[in-house]
């Protein structure tokens, strides 16, 4: 089956910032995204653990969105801006997809 080259953008960010990022994605616009909860981690501020913090501050999630190369070009700058002062990381990777009509 023929597959089609797309970009997968992944943002690991804090829960309170999540909506800021998804609002950016909505405006690109991309066709969709999925958010995954993290369990624990370590960064420049030390370690954290979902069950050992309370509230949303410091709780990380991973936002995954598959999109075309053009959309990725637009999204990258805007996400950079929105996340700039915040903790977290942004990665872009090449993926092949089935059902290209969905992106």
């Amino acid at each position: 089956m023929k597959t089609h080259a797309k970009k997968q953008m992944t943002v690991i960010c804090e829960m309170p910032v999540m909506h800021r990022i998804t609002r950016v994605l909505d405006k690109v616009p991309v066709t969709g995204y999925t958010v995954f909860p993290a369990l624990s981690g370590r960064g420049s501020e030390g370690t954290w653990d979902r069950d050992r913090i309370i509230g949303d501050a410091g709780r990380m999630v991973m936002i995954v969105s598959v999109m075309s190369v053009e959309q990725a070009d637009v999204a990258i700058d805007r996400i950079y801006e929105a996340l700039e002062p915040q903790m977290g990381i942004i990665t872009v990777a090449d993926v092949d997809v089935l059902r290209p009509e969905r992106f």
Partner: protein, 330 residues
């Protein structure tokens, strides 16, 4: 004085505080003992639902009074005033950047609902009956502090609005519709509407197991606070730790005249002092991550969760109750 010590001893030796200490000590010793996030979140909703409902039922019995209005007003003013004082002190005694000081100050204007619940329990256990409407005062004190902190930090923070015109949206929702205010006030109103009959229907859930549930929750909070305190050792210097220990007493002292003017009962005075003394660690940190991302959470969370919260729970509450008794003669 003896009475105060007795009160303190009774408070420390009550099951809720002992379970808090267990969690705290276990966490410092390195145990993995915590409740899962989903359960901790639910227990905190349970506590707010129960305390809100009971407050509403009490209000239905007492009726609306002038004191309610005055106490609400007092709470709002205190919540706005305390951050200014805290900010001023922090600027004097520490070298914290302006933005960190503003963020930390906001926590002390807002409240810790768990501290409030524990205080209510403690105050009742010594025979005082605080006003039911103190729950509404607690809810009213959650948010003004946040707005004051934003104002304090404005000059320091970059103009994020320019970059994202909707940036404020999430923040306002976080501030005014955060679930603790909704549950607390919603249950309060439902309690007021259904009164004694409603209480009879659900007291098997919100009264019978209440103290035990509080123990379980404080076991978990102890573990979280223990971790916060371990963090505190790394990021806070002696002056900041001192701030975390003494600021509550300043807040409580500021609350005392307001409480007396509002004509609160002895229990009510103790609770308003506790509210003023307590520092937020759920609503305010989340708002700060959005509004002042450059402020370091390690500072403000360590202060409010690792220093102030355990101090209030063990020493603060009995002290405020003792002062309230002395002053009101109750």
């Amino acid at each position: 004085m003896e009475a105060i010590l007795q009160l303190a001893a009774a408070n420390i030796l009550s099951p809720p505080v002992l379970f808090f200490i267990l969690g705290f000590a276990g966490s410092i010793a390195g145990s993995q003992l915590t409740l899962p996030e989903a359960v901790a979140k639910t227990l905190s909703i349970y506590l707010m639902l129960a305390i809100g409902f009971k407050g509403g039922v009490a209000l239905a019995a007492e009726g609306l009074t002038l004191a309610l209005m005055l106490a609400l007003l007092a709470g709002i003013v205190l919540s706005a005033l305390i951050p200014l004082v805290a900010f001023f002190i922090l600027q004097r005694i520490s070298k914290l950047p302006r933005i960190d000081a503003a963020a930390a100050a906001a926590h002390y204007g807002s409240i810790s609902i768990v501290t409030f619940v524990a205080a209510t329990q403690a105050v009742r256990s010594i025979g005082l009956e605080p006003e039911g409407f103190m729950v509404a005062v607690a809810a009213a004190m959650e948010t003004p502090a946040i707005l004051v902190a934003l104002f304090l930090a404005r000059s320091a923070a970059k103009q994020r609005k320019a970059a994202d015109p909707d940036a404020g949206e999430g923040l306002l929702q976080e501030v005014f519709l955060n679930s603790s205010v909704v549950v607390l006030m919603g249950a309060f109103v439902i309690g007021a509407v259904t009164g004694a009959e409603g209480m009879a229907a659900i007291e098997g859930f919100i009264v019978v197991p209440f103290t035990g549930v509080l123990c379980l929750f404080l076991l978990d909070m102890g573990a979280v606070a223990g971790r916060g305190m371990a963090q505190a050792r790394k990021v806070l210097d002696a002056r900041l730790v001192g701030f975390g220990l003494f600021m509550p007493f300043i807040g409580a002292a500021m609350a005392l005249p307001f409480a007396l003017i509002a004509g609160l009962s002895t229990g009510g005075v103790a609770l308003l002092m506790t509210l003023a003394a307590s520092a937020s660690y759920i609503a305010v940190p989340a708002a700060m991550r959005l509004a002042l991302p450059e402020a370091r959470p390690s500072i403000y969370l360590s202060l409010s969760l690792g220093v102030t919260f355990p101090m209030n729970l063990t020493i603060g509450i009995p002290a405020y109750a003792a002062v309230a008794r002395l002053v009101t003669g109750g």
